[in-house]
């Protein structure tokens, strides 16, 4: 099997190809689908091994690395930046001792001098993914990031080894998995015109009627879940922009909600929430509570991370009496009004202790924004009995 190398190069880039793909390609080649040309082989391999346009680029790189020579004569620094921007490879585990910053910098310079080609995955070179402490999106216990991803959060961090571990599934949390988790909120009710034939009841009635047909109809079943989604778009949420937009589109696509209302707030709720990300179309929380009964399910999304005074004091709009209420109380009002509510937090669990996250966690049942977290949160919303301390 001469294309084994290609297979493993794809797997290195986290494209899940396996026996099915290998067999398919082998069968295609056996049947001569590649026209006996390299070009044909390239297309046949691509059609059988890749199942998503997002992986096409990975395939091209794997193919070139395996079969072709590339001319990398541009500046290394430029090249590095490009490589790192291109893709973030899933994190894998690392068990090495964390080196310190000075060592890291030295290693970085030294390896930069040695390195002549791009690198993704693997334990040594600078690149994306992989276990080397140098590069981006990797998992060495401590490391040096060569690109920046906002807010000074992704730079050198000498934290507890494995602190990223619970985050692993988060990287693969895609829209589809979110949609599947959100489906748990399904609930149906029969209402409206009687347009659906109830076969069981019809047979039953017809039998009672000594064979004379008695058609029984019923209203169709319709989704009956009302959901309010409130999203924090404050500055500290910036690193999670992609995750937020994924969650948002997954929720929008969920056709099993009877009603979905989306609001935005900045760090914490004070009196008003907004219909847009740009904080226009304000709605008073009190008006919202009047419109939406306790049967609405409230999903708060935010990092719950803010300066303590933001939680303890009233908002900047203290012109009216209604808004002279501290942020934490507004949250409490929301939590008390709705029978089912939860808070989804994109911050890794390791950072939840000893900050405003802990305070808000006492008001709302808080779940990490990972596949498991989302699933648990939906189960919690369905239980109907908020467990508040």
């Amino acid at each position: 099997m001469f294309f084994q190398g290609l297979l493993y190069r794809l797997r290195e880039q986290d494209v899940s190809v396996g026996i099915t793909e290998a067999l398919a390609l082998a069968a295609a080649l056996k049947a001569g689908a590649h026209d006996d040309t390299v070009r044909g082989f390239y297309y046949a391999a691509r059609a059988t091994m890749i199942h998503h346009e997002g992986h096409l680029d990975a395939f091209d790189r794997a193919f070139l690395a395996e079969y072709g020579n590339l001319d990398w004569d541009t500046s290394l620094t430029e090249q590095l930046r490009e490589w790192l921007d291109e893709q973030n490879v899933r994190m894998s585990e690392s068990s090495e001792e964390p080196p310190d910053l000075a060592e890291l910098l030295e290693m970085f310079e030294q390896r930069k001098a040695e390195q002549t080609e791009r690198h993704d995955g693997g334990p040594y070179w600078i690149g994306t993914g992989g276990k080397s402490p140098l590069g981006q999106g990797g998992v060495a216990a401590a490391g040096l990031s060569t690109g920046s991803s906002g807010g000074g959060r992704a730079a050198v961090r000498i934290a507890d080894a494995r602190s990223y571990r619970p985050y692993r599934s988060d990287v693969t949390l895609d829209i589809r998995q979110m949609e599947v988790a959100l489906r748990r909120l399904r609930a149906f009710v029969r209402e409206g015109a009687q347009v659906e034939l109830d076969i069981e009841a019809t047979i039953d009635e017809t039998a009672r009627n000594a064979g004379e047909i008695e058609v029984v109809t019923r209203p169709p079943s319709k989704p009956n879940t009302h959901v309010i989604l409130m999203i924090d778009v404050g500055g500290s949420m910036f690193p999670y922009t992609t995750l937020m937009s994924q969650l948002f589109s997954a929720t929008k696509k969920a056709t099993h909600f009877k009603e979905l209302r989306t609001y935005y707030f900045h760090n914490c709720v004070y009196g008003k929430v907004y219909g847009t990300e740009r904080f226009t179309e304000p709605t008073w929380v009190h008006d919202l509570l009047r419109e939406c009964g306790p049967h609405y399910k409230l999903i708060m999304v935010g990092d719950a991370f803010m300066a303590p005074y933001e939680l303890g004091q009233s908002g900047p709009w203290s012109a009216t009496d209604a808004s002279r209420v501290p942020g934490i109380q507004w949250l409490q009002i929301l939590a008390d009004h709705f029978r089912d509510s939860c808070w989804l937090n994109p911050e890794p669990l390791s950072r939840w202790n000893g900050s405003t996250i802990e305070d808000i966690g006492r008001v709302f049942e808080m779940f990490p924004l990972t596949t498991e977290g989302l699933t648990e949160a939906m189960a919690h919303l369905n239980r109907g009995t908020p467990q508040r301390r």
Partner: protein
């Protein structure tokens, strides 16, 4: 069996190879791409090129997998039993085949198009896995097995915006239709508007790709919009395409009000 496109449908080596793989491996061909890149037309072209009949299943948001297999018309049977003008003892009279069932029962090999599979419920593709794999299913009411005499050539289209389940993806040959580049687009336009004035074509293409390249446009125009637009230009006898505010028939290219607005504000800023 070889697919190299038809007179009206232009292909490229990548697409031909994908169709070839799908044919020899007898696996469904999943075609994804932006709207208006000719995903649905591909199935028609394959059917035409291979000389096979085409059976189409248009998937909607309410479509369930079962509908593709067969439908048991209970109401009709009940009705007939009451008025007695039909033999209701034979349940088979009341089983109607869906698109998949028809494709399986066909005496010759057919092309089956499952159009816009992503429109349906998120579990829909998974419900079809078994039937597409084995190319057979059982009619529950009669116990009859419907098995494909000739495995149909299955073409499935999906918009690029929605994700499909992995298990389903693994069973398909995948092809992503890239948006045509300028050269291919010129050939496509030529197919639709033979003998179009070179100069007008060049201007129209420049304008078209310029509009597509604007980052504030939310629904960029696709091939079909371009073809329509050129038809409009021709009918109106336009010879100059002004890329500025007075671009003719802008509404044919841009369908969203915000997009037209975005285009206009950008024009005024630039000129």
């Amino acid at each position: 069996m070889e697919f190299t496109g038809t007179q009206a449908y232009l292909t490229n080596p990548a697409l031909e190879a994908a169709v070839r793989c799908s044919l020899v491996l007898e696996k469904p061909l999943l075609v994804r791409g932006e709207p208006g890149t000719g995903k649905t037309l591909l199935a028609e072209a394959v059917a035409e090129a291979l000389g096979m009949p085409l059976i189409t299943w248009h998937v909607k948001s309410t479509t369930r997998a079962q509908e593709g297999l067969y439908h048991y018309d209970t109401v009709q049977r009940l009705y007939d039993s009451r008025f007695g003008d039909h033999d209701v003892r034979d349940i088979r009279e009341y089983i109607h085949m869906g698109a998949l069932g028809q494709a399986f029962q066909s005496p010759e090999r057919v092309v089956l198009l499952i159009d816009e599979i992503d429109k349906a419920d998120i579990e829909f593709p998974n419900d079809l896995l078994h039937e597409l794999d084995r190319m057979r299913f059982t009619v529950m009411e009669t116990g009859d097995e419907v098995a494909a005499a000739h495995r149909p050539v299955v073409v499935i289209t999906s918009n690029a915006e929605k994700e499909l389940p992995d298990a389903f993806l693994r069973r398909c040959i995948f092809h992503y239709i890239d948006f045509p580049d300028r050269e291919l687009m010129a050939r496509i336009v030529e197919v639709h508007h033979p003998g179009l004035d070179r100069d007008l074509m060049n201007q129209a293409l420049t304008a078209f790709f310029a509009v597509r390249g604007m980052d504030r446009i939310r629904k960029p125009p696709s091939t079909s919009e371009l073809v329509d637009w050129i038809a409009m230009l021709q009918t109106a006898g336009e010879t100059e395409v002004d890329l500025g505010e007075n671009m003719p028939f802008l509404g044919t290219l841009l369908k969203k009000e915000q997009d037209i607005e975005a285009f206009r504000t950008r024009s005024t800023r630039r000129y």
